[in-house]
């Protein structure tokens, strides 16, 4: 586990399913200890990329490695270094929680893993459900069991594919606290999510996929500065819009007026026009672009 190896290295990965090119030459490196977000609309290739990393799918061409271990040639070491929380809420109805975790440990050759199993069950609030059949767990508990299963072998790299889809607010929060803690302890996290505010809050770096290609790859704070669309929110008195600005100024849900602009000069012109028409500005806010704006903007442009 050399410190020089990236946690995940993907180069020129291509994968075609019948008529669709799921991945069209994806390359990226994720360094050890990163909290990395993989975003993209449905069908962008996120799950295909994760499946190739996990060995659930095979690339047509290109390479992928976990902690320096090729996922095909050194699949044993690669899979030992990787914990995957799958997107689907799957469980094996034949077993209870503890059996599930013991069996999963056994697949990695870990025979006496009960100490660690107890610890993860404790952190994920599963302890009181240890003897419950997985069939009788609620959706949230099934999700937590999937996280626990991904961690039985203490993998340095953890992949979470849409882990909070359909999960209630409390569980989502406790899940993120737990994952953030794992990240602080040195685990590399790769996350795909549809909740962009989660990605913005958690991920240090983000890649955006579209139609099997990386269309953006940068630190989250750099991405947030990428868009040149700004938005101002105003109230003014009297509420009559100068003729030149009709159509540009829009009422929003708060009863304020909103205007989008890409150049601050436009804002100056607006303020001058308002003053010229004898209209007094009573309130003004500049809204910082969030990841959703950037995401929408990038998806539109590419």
């Amino acid at each position: 586990m050399s410190q020089t190896n990236p946690a995940i290295r993907v180069s020129e990965l291509r994968k075609r399913f019948r008529t669709t090119q799921a991945l069209d030459g994806v390359s990226l490196d994720i360094q050890q200890g990163e909290f990395f977000g993989l975003l993209g609309p449905n069908g962008a290739g996120k799950t295909t990329l994760i499946s190739i990393l996990a060995g659930l799918a095979r690339a047509d061409s290109g390479h992928a490695a976990i902690m320096g271990h090729d996922v095909v040639r050194d699949y044993r070491q690669a899979r030992r270094a990787l914990g995957v929380v799958p997107q689907e809420l799957v469980y094996d109805p034949f077993f209870n929680v503890r059996e599930t975790l013991r069996i999963q440990s056994g697949y990695f050759g870990l025979k006496h893993n009960d100490g660690w199993i107890d610890e993860i069950m404790h952190h994920l609030d599963l302890t009181q459900h240890a003897d419950k059949n997985t069939q009788n767990l609620s959706g949230g508990m099934k999700r937590r069991l999937l996280v626990a299963q991904a961690l039985v072998h203490k993998p340095p790299v953890i992949v979470l594919d849409e882990p909070t889809a359909g999960v209630d607010v409390n569980l989502r929060r406790s899940l993120w606290e737990f994952i953030s803690r794992l990240n602080r302890e040195g685990h590399t996290i790769l996350l795909t999510t549809h909740y962009l505010e989660e990605a913005e809050a958690l991920c240090g770096r983000i890649a955006m996929l579209k139609s099997g290609r990386v269309v953006a790859l940068d630190a989250t704070r750099n991405l947030l500065q990428l868009t040149n669309e700004h938005c101002a929110q105003l109230r003014f008195d009297p509420e009559s819009v100068p003729p030149a600005w009709q159509g540009r100024l829009q009422r929003d849900a708060d009863g304020c007026w909103r205007v989008n602009f890409s150049d601050y000069g436009e804002l100056e012109t607006l303020l001058a026009d308002l003053r010229g028409a004898g209209i007094r500005v009573t309130e003004m806010h500049l809204l910082e672009p969030d990841l959703e704006d950037v995401f929408t903007d990038i998806m539109k442009r590419t």
């Binding site: 799918a57 899979r79 030992r80 799958p86 094996d92 440990s105 990695f108």
Partner: protein
């Protein structure tokens, strides 16, 4: 082979948790066959001189139960895992295709042997005790379960829906086992169907297994062993090739 014991254990635990369905039910079914057929045919049919019909039928029923249950174990475990999606639990860890094969095969063989033993035990009430030849008995029992366990792996991987697996079972496994001399000697068939029976590998399994019990058979038990061995090698090679390629498991 680090993960093999766990996967084997998981497969055993899986059928053991539903033992009524996986062991008791097939034993009861075999008992019903025995009661009905021996009631109707005992005294009317003597296949081999000095061997009663019930004595003739018992080894066939034991073998048929082993075949069907060995197939059932690996195939139903796999199709359930695929339909439910929990097959990823065994695809994500560092298990090799050989470990995968041996675990599913081993559990299928064990289930087949347990069911076979159960059927044999309950039939002891109805047929006089006869000491089988242990070498032939074990060789045929293990080979038969292994062949069907491997066929079950192939079927479980190939089938994408329960009805595809049911088709496999009803149109292939069931006819092969029924038309193989469980209930009759193939020498009582017209020449054409005798010839057909000789290309059915299950016929050799039942004939050889019966030889272990009654010391008489339709063909040489060594030939049967050769056929069974060749079948096992062939089906194992096919299964391992499919697993290595990740056929329908790793896309």
């Amino acid at each position: 082979m680090t993960g093999l014991p766990a996967l084997f254990y998981k497969e055993l635990l899986r059928f053991w948790k539903v033992v009524v369905q996986t062991v008791v039910a097939p034993v009861v079914t075999a008992l019903l066959y025995l009661l009905i057929f021996s009631q109707v045919l005992e005294g009317h049919v003597e296949v081999y001189p000095g061997v009663s019909y019930t004595q003739f039928l018992v080894p066939g029923l034991v073998m048929m139960s082993m075949l069907q249950n060995a197939f059932s174990n690996s195939s139903s475990s796999l199709i359930q895992s695929k339909m439910q999606g929990n097959i990823v639990f065994v695809l994500l860890p560092p298990l090799s295709y050989l470990e995968f094969f041996l675990a599913y095969l081993g559990a299928a063989v064990l289930r087949g042997l347990i069911v076979g033993l159960g059927v044999w035990m309950v039939t002891l009430w109805f047929a006089p005790w006869q000491m089988p030849q242990p070498g032939w008995l074990l060789a045929y029992a293990v080979l038969a379960c292994a062949i069907m366990g491997a066929v079950g792996i192939v079927a479980g991987i190939w089938a994408e829906k329960y009805d595809q697996l049911a088709a496999f079972q009803n149109f292939l496994i069931l006819p092969l086992t029924f038309l193989s001399g469980v209930f009759y000697s193939i020498h009582s068939l017209p020449p054409f169907w005798q010839a057909v029976s000789h290309v059915n590998p299950v016929f050799y399994l039942i004939d050889g297994f019966r030889y272990a019990f009654v010391g008489q058979s339709d063909t040489d038990p060594w030939l049967g062993l050769l056929v069974a061995g060749a079948c096992f090698v062939a089906i194992s090679a096919l299964t391992l090739m499919l697993l290595k390629r990740g056929y329908k498991l790793r896309h």
